[in-house]
């Protein structure tokens, strides 16, 4: 009994199952090619509003902003009223009233001419542009990996029989998860064409 168990444990691992070439070729041909990877990437960028032009626009605006003046305006209203009572011995009291009012309008325009040569906001815009570029790259890497993981799972489901029900369920759950994340990131529908009969148990 122990010898048999030892033989089982020390035996070389089972070879990785290789799909039938004809089945693999058919499954590859049947993999959904709509949407393609380029379409998925473009949709993800569109959904996240991460177009490369956005950052360029920030830089252009930072430069163009120097042409426009800083304009401030003020409108002031003033009103005052005072009474003065003069009392002197032997004279009658005298009460006088003082009224005053005024208004002032100020309009001020100023130009920071040095910003025509260099504007510190350009640095912030450039840093934001580099950050945006990094975020864009991370998003593209993620959707690319998810796209190919979905293709891989579809291919495995179609060509490699699962070892047990647990693995079959795991594949389908992972596929559903990958597709849900992709749909969330891109907003695209991910239709599946009917593929070869599923050899999963």
């Amino acid at each position: 009994m122990i010898a048999m168990l030892l033989l089982y444990l020390l035996a070389p691992p089972a070879p990785v199952p290789v799909p039938d070439p004809a089945l693999l070729a058919r499954a590859l041909a049947e993999l959904p090619n709509k949407p393609g990877i380029a379409e998925v990437q473009a949709a993800a960028l569109r959904r996240a509003t991460l177009s490369p032009r956005t950052a360029q626009r920030w830089l252009r605006r930072a430069r163009a902003a120097a042409i426009l003046p800083t304009v401030t305006g003020e409108y002031g209203l003033r009103t005052d009223q005072g009474w003065q009572l003069d009392q002197a011995a032997g004279d009658g009291d005298e009460l006088s009233q003082d009224l005053g009012a005024g208004r002032a309008i100020q309009v001020r325009a100023s130009w920071d001419l040095d910003r025509l040569i260099f504007n510190a906001d350009e640095l912030r815009a450039a840093r934001a542009a580099l950050d945006l570029s990094d975020v864009r790259e991370r998003l593209l890497v993620r959707v690319t990996q998810l796209y190919f993981e979905r293709q891989q799972l579809l291919l495995e489901i179609a060509t490699l029989p699962a070892r047990d029900g647990h693995e079959a369920i795991g594949r389908h759950m992972r596929l559903a998860e990958v597709e849900a994340v992709l749909v969330g990131l891109t907003g695209l529908a991910l239709p599946r064409r009917p593929m070869t009969p599923n050899p999963d148990p």
Binding site: L10, Q106, A109, D112, F118, V141
Partner: protein
Amino acid sequence: MALPLLLLLAGLASEPPLDPSVDRHEAVPAVHGGFAAPGAWLVLWHGEAWVCWDASTGDCWQRLELAGLVDLATLRAEFVDRSTLALTDRSDGSWQVVRPDPTPRIVRWSTTARHSPQVLGCGPSGVLPIARAGGPGLLACDAPAGDTQCVRPGRPLRLRPASPIRLRIGLELRALDDWRALAGLAAATGVQVLATIGVGLDAGWSQQRRERADLQAQARPSPRTLPAPRSRGPLIAGERQALHAVICGGAT
């Protein structure tokens, strides 16, 4: 005697192989120490940053206390040396983490952190940071081959040189209308036009110059390691090509 032997053999048989493809899905965004700290890693795991100063020392991971200080979504990091890590984020703040203190210290100026954490295929020293149950870990992997590395082209970033001179001109228009009733009626109205000019020197000029130089350095071409592909077999070539196009542009 037979039972312990059986248990040992069973343990050996069930140990997962050191095959990077097994744990590729668990790879975490990481920054390698580079030339300055060849054994060091910074990784993002479960919304927190962890640092390993020396990967050869086994359980080397230390959680950094960045909560509320550094925005992890836009974190950039760079190892200055084997015991100093420079951090920055989009707030333009700069921090340094000095081994073994996990709390970052605000610094006015430090080495500019240029690297965003990325999911790698395999680190330059043949290990890959991965997520494990209790924290990040390291997995042996095949050192990056030539086809997993590429050079990211420079990003277009034309910045004008900073100038220390500040020059402001202004134009001001004032319209006044005033009256007063005191022993008669007095009124005053008028319009004033003022022109102003101001000249000054900007104390932050040198800092702007440095920042401009750093931004330009970040935009220059840089070597990159392609992220780990998720597919295998007949699909892997297409995925590598797509990842190459994302990271370095063009096709392999």
